[in-house]
C-alpha cells in the first residue's frame, strides 16, 4: 500500500513538474519579461542590468528551479497589465469562482441524480423521453448560448433575476467574500450556477441512468426482490446505493473542469472570478497570470485525481495490485 501511495505521489509530482516547465517556458520565452519593464529608449546598459538583476542570464536549470521555488511559495510574479502581484489578483477573485463552482456542482448532483434514477426506472414514460431529449440538447448547446438564453428569459423578459455580477457580498475573515448570505447574492448565483452546471447535470443523469440499468440486472437485485422487499427498498436501498460510487467519482473529477469552464460562464454573467481574470490575461497576453492560473488549475486537477485514486485503492484492494503492476 505504501509503495502504491509513493508511486502515485511520484507520478503526480512529475506531472506538476512538467506543467511547471510549460508555465516557466511561457513565462520566460513568450514576450521577454524585460521588454515589459523597459521602454524603447532605455539605454542598453540599463537593460543589461535589469536583465542581470532579474536573473535572466543564469543557466536555464537555475532559472527553472527558482521559478518552482517561487511558485511553491505562491509567488508568480507581477501582472504586466495590473502591475500587482499575480497571487493577490487571483486570491481576490478565488472566492467568487469557488462559490460558483460549488453551487453548480450541487445543482448538477441534486437535479442530475433524480433525473437519472427516474429515466432508468420509467424508461418508456414520456417524461423520461423528455429528460433524454433535454440531455441531448444540454450536451449539444454551447455553454455561452445557454447562458444568453437564460439571461434573455429570466432577466430581460421576465425581470426575475439579475443578469450580471455577484449582488451584495459579505466579507468573512480577512479575504473571503461570500454571496451566500444575502438575498441579492443568492439571486445572482442562480442563473450562472445553472448555466455552468447544466453540462455536468446531463452527464450525471446519463451516467446514473446507465449504471442503474446495469445494476438492476444484477443477481443481488433479483435476490432482494425474491426476499419480498418493497420495490422502494430495492430501488433506493440496493440499486441506487451501488450506482453512487462511480457517480461520485466522476462528479469529483469533474470539479476541476467546472472551475475551468467557469471561464465562459463568468464572461457571460460578468462574474468577477478567476476565469474572467484569466480570459483578460489571454486577450492582453499577460503571461504571469496565464502561467499562474495554469499552475493552480493543474494543481487542483492533480490533487483531485490523486485523492480519487487513493480512495479507490483503499476501497478496492484489487486496484492496488493492477495499478501497481504497470
Amino acid at each position: 500500500m505504501l509503495a502504491f501511495i509513493l508511486r502515485r505521489l511520484f507520478q503526480s509530482l512529475i506531472v506538476m513538474l512538467s506543467v511547471a516547465l510549460i508555465a516557466f517556458a511561457m513565462f520566460r520565452f513568450v514576450g521577454d519579461p524585460v521588454n515589459q519593464i523597459v521602454s524603447l529608449d532605455t539605454p542598453a546598459e540599463q537593460v543589461r542590468q535589469i536583465r542581470q538583476s532579474l536573473g535572466l542570464d543564469d543557466p536555464f536549470l537555475v532559472q527553472f528551479a527558482r521559478y518552482i521555488y517561487n511558485a511553491a511559495r505562491l509567488e508568480f510574479g507581477v501582472s504586466y497589465q495590473f502591475r500587482l502581484p499575480v497571487i493577490s489578483l487571483l486570491g481576490e477573485r478565488a472566492p467568487a469562482t469557488l462559490e460558483l463552482a460549488f453551487c453548480s456542482a450541487l445543482f448538477s448532483l441534486l437535479v442530475g441524480i433524480p433525473m437519472g434514477v427516474y429515466t432508468a426506472l420509467n424508461r418508456d414514460s414520456w417524461l423520461a423521453k423528455l429528460f433524454q431529449a433535454i440531455s441531448l440538447i444540454g450536451i449539444s448547446l454551447p455553454t455561452f448560448l445557454i447562458g444568453i438564453l437564460l439571461i434573455y428569459l429570466f432577466s430581460v423578459t421576465l425581470g426575475w433575476l439579475p443578469s450580471f455580477g455577484r449582488g451584495d457580498v459579505v466579507k468573512i475573515g480577512s479575504w473571503w467574500t461570500t454571496g451566500l448570505l444575502t438575498v441579492s447574492g443568492l439571486k445572482a448565483l442562480i442563473l450562472p450556477s445553472i448555466t455552468l452546471g447544466l453540462f455536468q447535470m446531463t452527464l450525471i443523469m446519463r451516467l446514473v441512468r446507465a449504471e442503474m440499468l446495469e445494476v438492476l440486472r444484477a443477481d443481488y437485485i433479483k435476490f432482494a426482490r425474491a426476499r419480498g422487499l418493497t420495490t422502494r427498498a430495492v430501488h433506493f436501498g440496493h440499486a441506487l446505493k451501488n450506482t453512487l460510487v462511480p457517480v461520485i467519482t466522476i462528479a469529483g473529477l469533474q470539479l476541476g473542469s467546472i472551475i475551468a469552464f467557469a471561464i465562459i460562464t463568468e464572461t457571460v454573467f460578468q462574474w468577477p472570478g478567476m476565469g474572467q481574470l484569466f480570459l483578460r490575461s489571454v486577450q492582453n497576453v499577460d503571461i504571469p497570470i496565464m502561467a499562474a492560473y495554469l499552475m493552480l488549475i493543474s494543481f487542483l486537477f492533480v490533487s483531485i485525481n490523486l485523492m480519487v485514486d487513493l480512495l479507490y485503492a483503499m476501497v478496492d484492494p484489487r486496484l492496488r495490485a493492477t495499478v501497481g503492476a504497470h
Binding site: 449539444s140 454551447p142 455561452f144 444568453i148 443578469s163 471561464i263 489571454v282
Partner: protein, 312 residues
Amino acid sequence: MSLTTPPVAASRWARFRDSDILASFLKSKVTMAAAFVVLMLFVGAAFSPWLAPTNPFDPASVFLSDSMIPPAWQDGGDPRFILGTDDQGRDLYSAILYGMRVSLIVGGLGCLLAAVIGITLGLLAGYLGGRVDSIIMRIADVQLTFPAILIALLIDGVVRGLFKNASREDTAIYVLVVSIGLSFWVQYARTIRGSTLVERNKDYVMAARLVGLPAPLIMLRHVLPNVIGPVLVILTINLGLAVITEATLSFLGVGLPPTQPSLGTLISIGNRYLFSGDWWIVAFPGVTLAALVLAVNLLGDWLRDALNPRLR
C-alpha cells in the same frame, strides 16, 4: 477464416445499396432529418457568395443608416433584410451564411489538423513502442485531464504572444486552427495506438519487415490503411466539438475579429444588444449554431452505432 476468393466485387454503388449502413440510415427518421439539416447548412456555407443577397464584408454595400433593422416580419422591418441587420448595418442573413462558412472552415481544418497529429503520434507510439510510446501516451494522459477549451485558450494566448506584430485579422484563422488541432489530438492518438498495437504483430507486417521495408513506409502503406477506420467516427463527432470550441473562443473575444465574423463572433456582437430588446442579432446565429452542432452530433452518434458491429 475462409480462403476462397471473395465473389467478384459488385459495383461500389451496389455494395453500398445492399449494406447495413444504408438500411440503418433509412430506418432512422431522426438521422435522415439531421443529415438533411447538415446538408442544407453545408450547401449554404459552401455557396454563401452566391446565395447571400449582399456581401456583408464589402464596405461599399453596407450602410450605417441600415443598422439595427428588425426582421422583415416585424414592425419597422425592411424586406431587403429578411432576418434584420446588425449594429453596422450588415444583412444578418448574409452574415450568417458567410459566418457559417468561416465556422465550418475553422472547425473542419482544426479537426483535420488534430487527426493528422493524432494519427501520426498514435502510429509512432503503437508501432515503435518502448520509450516513444510511454512519452507520447504520458503527454496524452496529462492533456486529457484538462478541458480542451482551456488548452485552446492557453495556446491562443501563447501564439499571439509569439507573433505580436502580425495583425490579428491575418492570423486569427490560423491561430484558431492550431489551437483546436492541438487540443483534440489525444482521442485519435489513443484509438490509432490501440489498433496499431494489434496490427503490429500480424503476419503481413512481419512480412513487410522481412522484405526490408523501412519503418515509415510500413507504417504509412501497410498499418495505416488497416487502422484508419474508426477515425471517421471520431472526426464526425469532433467536428461538432470543434465548431463549438471555435464559437466559444470567438465569443470570448479571442477568436475571429468582428471584421470577419464567425457564428460565435456574431453571437458575441448580438449579446451586447440583448438588453435593448434587439433579440434578432443573437437569436438567428445562435439557432443556426445550435442546429448545426445538434445535427452533426446526431449524425456522429448514428455513424458510431451503424459502424459498430456489436450493436447490429
